[in-house]
Amino acid sequence: MIAVKAKSEHGIPRLQELGFLLTAASEVARGGTYEDVRHALIRTKAQLVGDTAPTGNTAARRQGTEKAGHYVDNATGALAELMRIELLDRAPLPSTANAAKAYTETRFLLTDEGVMWLELLEEQGEPAALDALLRRLWKVHPQLRDYLRLLNAVDAFLVPALPWSTVFPHGSGPEGRDVYVDALVAHVLESGDTPHRGWSATPDEVRQAITAYTGRREAFAAKRGRPPYKRSRDFVAACDEAVTVLALHKAGVAVDYISFEILRRWTQDLLIANFSYWVPRPPSGLRAWSTATLTELDGAPEFARRPPGDNWVEPVQELLPEAFAAAVRQEGGSSFASVWRVRAFVCASLHINDAAFDGALRELQRRARRGEVPFDLAFEVSTTGAIPPTERPFRGINDRYGREPVFSLINVRRRQEGVRHDR
């Protein structure tokens, strides 16, 4: 059992989706039990899975053959967070799947503020409710505050990353790890000149951070008699995590890697920040940027967001050929580029979220079909497994049968006269 303490500030909860808070609160308002909340979260995630890139999430499958222990962490996490931000009355919650069996019939109570928040959700919709939610999250999560302040102070927070294949084009086994670390340290330092990246560190600090991080993992694995890294990419991921945590600490955000993963996802949903590993510009690495201008008044944040809308069509149209050219350069000069690279270029340049880009691109797709833009757009369907886990395919406009295609590749080319347009 966990009891949600009445502390004023908390770490980032392990909550996969911010939307779980909306789902859990709505379920509680309907008089749902802990079990109902758990089921509702599984349904919510199952609906979202097709929308996002393949993440290995099995919510859809779990709907059919679920066990009592599934999604207990998420159910408890969502309810606990609602208690921390004072939308639910505090109450004990199960901390394990076994303990959850005793809570199946437990019901929870919304606070007055919780009731008002749900009324806001019902009457004004998700954007208003999410904005109100952000103010509450801001109060209790100092790491969220620090992260958003950082992004508002820099053009883009940059954490250089280096693929294994860049160091070893012809492959290498575990014996290549020391060489890889040397190359990564050099890459991090070389990119130190990138303006406004948000942090700096000495070579020793970078190397020490990597060694300490990977060393902890190796010790943990040794204790359990397992290999620390099955594949080179696991070692690369550990090094990337180490450098990311160091960079965040140096930039004033004291956060562990998993919390950072959750933060960057939440802030996308809240339409106040965005990130990508795929911005096709040197140096390669993770870039995170603000998509809403932050001002603070008496400790309360105000965010001037850049929501999706027609106003992004022209800027996206302007940048699209350049973004495509940059993406193609990174993909061996092929005719098609990954749509997420193009999207990342545009979003990082305009400081907008993916949703704003996708909305504008859909409108450009319509205009291209009518021959109203100076280029033709071609897309290629998405294929499972081809999309990085942090990225999403592009949902195109409906076809003649009313279906919504999803694309992973894009080509932007000068408009060809004589090619037939809309049918």
Binding site: E17, L48, G171, A378, N411
Partner: protein, 450 residues
């Protein structure tokens, strides 16, 4: 639409087709995926006519056939690219066009094609060329060696099935055999085999090893059945190994002995080789083999030109490795690639639609008819084109659906109104009910709620 509205019981659709339209069956394919091995002429690409792509077939001859015979072209790329009306790159007729090009080349070793392109008879004869076909797949033919073996099988076993207009064709091996016999003035297998060995002996430079002696004996024996069995008996495990490529190398020596110095190899389905399910390491290795086998090893380096059908996914998966191997760029949108890239696009005109559909009607016709398009009309073809994506596969499938419906309803003819009504009533195209092209979940991320 002209419907028989009488209340009497409707006739069986196939009987209706036979009695009223003089078609022995639905003339059009249900799938529209050209598969070389199929005996059904609706499904094997045999009914492709160059008028469907009136500009592209001569362009393919100019770039690929002339390029191979005269310009030292080593790689050509056949793309299909959608216009703004569609975003699917399948079904444009790449495979059918490649088959057509290969078969037309083999009929007279490129003579007619080259002469149509402006070369004299002597020039065409001096630059004799033959062609082969192969395809990657996700089963056995995942390596270049396996594709080379498959190309050899094509050359030794494949005959174009007869149509009502053309008889069954000879295999390429039979044609080369005839040519070799004519060239040497002898059909003595020993003499022919010696000529092939002499070609092998004259090679300077790296090879895959000595030619396959048993294979040469069979090629020179003129026994197609035994030859086909020999090539076909290679076990699946051996097909993917490098040694399998030696079948093609040996066959090329045979072609050269027959006075054919240039061989065009049409290679389909590169996207299967480049699928993300194939490990990156294997893709990189096979890409290097493209370089070794086609550009460096003899006799391929001297004789072989590869024409590859291209797909965006394949390009993205291998273009970087392709570039690192210093192979010619496959990007279709770059002006500098104009000389070795052909891009198929949607059918634009009713004339092209007619050129696409009429051979299918002719093939199924049971007797000569007064109105050659019956049960269709020019107007219904126009409506069909308008209600399609302009891709040949889509048009063929829709024509199939139209015939099915009209025969079931016992229509006397399929007019423009009937065409529109039937096609507008189709809930989904046939090709995508089960693929992963479409968004599967109704939910949206919170980001999209803003």
């Amino acid at each position: 639409m002209t419907a028989d509205s009488s209340p009497k019981k409707k006739q069986n659709p196939v009987v209706w087709m036979r009695r009223n339209w003089h078609l022995d069956r639905n003339p059009f394919p249900q799938g529209g995926i050209a598969s070389l091995a199929r005996e059904d002429n609706r499904e094997n690409g045999r009914l492709f006519r160059p008028e469907v792509q009136p500009d592209k077939v001569p362009e393919a001859v100019d770039k690929f056939v002339v390029g191979a015979a005269f310009s030292g072209l080593k790689f050509g790329y056949l793309w299909s690219v959608s216009g703004p009306a569609s975003d699917d790159y399948r079904g444009y007729g790449k495979s059918s066009m490649l088959q057509y090009l290969v078969e037309e080349t083999n009929k007279d070793f490129g003579r007619a094609l080259l002469m149509n392109a402006g070369f004299s008879s002597d020039e065409a004869e001096a630059a004799a060329i033959c062609a082969m076909l192969a395809s990657f797949d996700k089963g056995i033919n995942t390596s270049l060696a396996a594709v080379f073996l498959q190309a050899t099988e094509y050359a030794c076993r494949h005959r174009y099935p007869a149509t009502k207009q053309e008889p069954e064709g000879k295999t390429l091996a039979e044609r080369l055999y005839d040519r070799l016999v004519a060239k040497l003035g002898s059909d003595d297998p020993t003499v022919l085999a010696d000529a092939v060995q002499n070609v092998s002996d004259s090679i300077r430079g790296r090879t895959l090893g000595p030619p396959l002696d048993d294979f040469i004996q069979l090629l020179c024996a003129g026994d197609s059945t035994a030859l086909g069995r020999y090539v076909g008996q290679v076990k699946s495990g051996a097909r993917t190994r490098v040694g399998a490529a030696n079948f093609l190398a040996t066959f090329l020596l045979f072609a050269k002995a027959a006075g054919v110095d240039h061989v065009l190899l049409g290679c389909d389905q590169l996207e299967d080789f480049a699928a993300t399910t194939t490990s990156k390491q294997k893709r990189a290795l096979e890409t290097e083999r493209f370089r070794d086998f086609v550009l460096e090893l003899m006799p391929m380096a001297d004789m072989l030109t590869m024409v590859v059908t291209m797909h965006p996914r394949a390009e993205v998966a291998i273009s970087e490795m392709w570039r690192l191997a210093d192979l010619p760029s496959m990007a279709w949108h770059l002006d500098e690639n104009e000389g070795h890239v052909i891009v198929l696009r949607e059918i634009q005109s009713v004339e092209q639609t007619r050129a696409l559909l009429k051979p299918y009607l002719d093939e199924a016709r049971t007797q000569t008819v007064d109105t050659e398009l019956i049960p269709f009309t020019e107007e219904s073809f126009e409506a069909l084109l308008d209600r399609s994506d302009g891709k040949p596969r889509d048009i063929l499938r829709k024509a199939h659906a139209l015939i099915e419906r009209a025969a079931r309803e016992n229509w006397a003819a399929i007019d423009a109104d009937g065409t529109r009504r039937v096609l507008d009533s189709l809930a989904l195209p046939d090709d995508s009910a089960s693929d992963e092209t479409w968004a599967g979940a109704s939910g949206r991320s919170l980001e999209e709620s803003w």
